[in-house]
């Protein structure tokens, strides 16, 4: 028995560990360190219709136990991702989750329609929560009606299941999750970065050229856990959790909160081997906890009788 195998809409994962979008490029750099086939899945960098340069530098700033970024969805554009990046990734035995971004609803739909046809793309992640772009991104992720409408439009054209990435920069994340579930999303991924800012003490100028950026890393883990805990008990579709995961213990904590799989972001920058290391350490941790299969961890911390546990297949 593979104790780490997880079934999610569109995704038969050999383990529930995947690098998070925007933190792994298109995999080429990390392929120099280990065989990407070891991963449960890969969430590739956000793809927009046209190539996008992103924001001016500096684009990153350190914070206590975290980092701020304002990359601005830089990517080579749909055509190049379809022609070069996805075929290159096909050499690995790993499903791809394509992160879809845009400035208009039409652009999201266009990207989703095409990229969902790629043979190794098994699911889409709808990026309605990037805090670093002026048009699109978070604008679609903070108003439930707009997020729901976009989800519906993308679902209509996508050939694979659609996961929607929730922004934590909202007043009521449960309301947002419910609206997106009602619109037909197959799953949620959460959380994206929290909007933050740092100012240089010597110059009084914001450190990031974009002034504000998205906060990630261990600093945001408690917020992610709380939001996944609340949302997972209010909806019936699965959640891929993320936000500051650095260890096998963190993965179990996300499952307890209600995640069915997890993605690892910032930690890749600090330790390029973090994903395979966590995959290797999980079985021993399950032994220690007296748990046979990782899916049994899902929702263990919920209030009793809230709802039946989603354990995948």
């Amino acid at each position: 028995m593979n104790r780490l195998a997880v079934e999610l809409p569109g995704l038969s994962l050999k383990n529930p560990i995947m690098p998070a979008s925007g933190c792994f490029g298109f995999g080429r750099e990390y392929a120099q360190f280990y065989d990407l086939s070891k991963l449960g899945a890969i969430m590739i960098k956000a793809t927009t219709k046209e190539p996008r340069f992103g924001n001016p530098t500096p684009r990153v700033a350190e914070t206590p136990s975290g980092m701020l970024n304002a990359i601005g969805l830089q990517n080579p554009g749909l055509e190049k991702v379809m022609k070069e990046e996805l075929p290159w990734l096909a050499q690995f035995d790993v499903p791809i989750i394509a992160n879809v971004a845009g400035s208009t609803m039409e652009e999201y739909v266009e990207v989703a329609k095409h990229i969902s046809k790629a043979p190794n793309v098994h699911a889409l992640e709808l990026n309605i929560s990037c805090p670093n772009v002026k048009k699109g991104g978070i604008a679609f992720g903070t108003v439930p009606e707009i997020a729901a409408e976009l989800t519906k439009l993308v679902k209509e054209v996508s050939e694979v299941p659609v996961y929607v990435k929730l922004s934590p920069n909202v007043t009521n994340i449960v309301e947002m999750a419910k609206a997106i579930e009602a619109a037909g999303a197959d799953g949620l991924t959460m959380i994206n970065t929290l909007l933050g800012m740092r100012i240089d003490v010597k110059t009084a100028k914001p450190i990031l050229a974009n002034r504000t950026g998205g906060l990630s890393g261990p600093a945001i883990k408690p917020i992610a856990i709380r939001m996944i805990y609340e949302v997972s008990q209010a909806i019936s579709i699965p959640i891929i959790g993320m936000g500051g995961i650095q260890s096998a213990e963190d993965v179990i904590e996300f499952f307890y909160a209600g995640a069915s799989a997890v993605a690892i972001g910032t930690a890749n920058f600090i330790d390029p081997f973090v994903c395979p290391n966590i995959i290797d350490k999980l079985p021993a941790l399950l032994d220690e906890l007296g748990i046979d299969h990782i899916s049994e961890c899902m929702g263990r911390s919920w209030k009793k009788g809230e709802r039946s546990v989603y354990c995948g297949a």
Partner: protein, 257 residues
């Protein structure tokens, strides 16, 4: 090939005000070959400070399997690093990036090396390798003030070496460009590392010469995955180069400074 290793501190000492010289030993040195490459150092296994620090390679000693880094103690990360004692280990990822092209200059030709502040260290290994090749090396090193001047004697071993300080407390008062102008230094190839305004000034000063510039930028991953350290390519709205993996050394004009 880049690797990750717990390297051991061999020697560690301050060599100027807040400037430290750190010598590490480990197998990773076997992978280091190009002057101008850098390593990504994690100063603590704790979550704070979280990110690695990019530090350039100053000396590579394959025989002793040692490498030397010179850094400025400035924030939390470098302060923690400055407290490491011989025998302790440090998590190092590297070597990263592409170094200075040695084949840009022939035996008997002249190379001008220009460093500014904490951009000086990578030029040391470059000077060493160029001299070994038979290239005539002239170095111009710029600092803020006398207190932070380092490696003047070490560079002098490889050829003529001039110092500029902004406040005039040592060497020529002013910038490296003042020294080059004043001394009318001639050269075949120029290699430089330092603050962006200095690199810009050199690029403008020698539009017809072969000039290589090493850039610095805030980095996330250091290996090309996070897109934090990109710079623009002239004449394009979308083309880019990554400082960490395409650089940090670029030919003048290759990227927009």
């Amino acid at each position: 090939m880049m690797k990750q290793e717990q390297m051991t501190v061999v020697r560690h000492k301050p060599i100027a005000k807040n400037i430290y010289e750190l010598t590490l030993s480990g197998h990773l040195v076997e992978e280091m070959n190009a002057p101008g490459q850098f390593v990504h150092v994690k100063v603590t296994s704790q979550a704070a400070p979280l990110l690695r620090r990019p530090l350039s390679l100053c000396r590579i000693d394959q025989n002793a399997r040692e490498c030397t880094l010179i850094y400025r103690k400035e924030g939390i990360g470098t302060t923690l690093l400055s407290e490491k004692r011989p025998g302790e280990t440090i998590d190092v990822l590297g070597p990263l990036g592409n170094g200075f092209p040695l084949d840009a200059v022939e035996k008997g030709q002249r190379a001008l090396l220009v460093g500014g502040g904490i951009g000086v260290p990578p030029l040391y290994e470059l000077a060493k390798q160029l001299v070994k090749k038979g290239v005539i090396v002239t170095s111009v090193l710029g600092f803020q003030t006398k207190e932070v001047v380092f490696y003047e004697r070490e560079f002098a071993e490889f050829g003529e070496t001039y110092i500029a300080t902004v406040d005039g407390s040592h060497g020529t008062k002013g910038f490296v460009t003042d020294v080059i102008h004043e001394r009318a230094i001639s050269f075949d190839v120029l290699y430089a590392c330092g603050p962006k305004p200095m690199l810009k000034a050199l690029e403008q000063m020698f539009p017809d010469k072969e000039v290589y510039l090493s850039l610095e930028e805030r980095m996330g991953c250091g290996i090309g995955a996070c897109f934090a350290c990109v710079c623009r390519v002239p004449g394009s709205e979308t083309a880019y180069k990554k400082v960490c993996s395409d650089g940090p050394v670029f030919k003048a004009g290759e990227v927009v400074l």
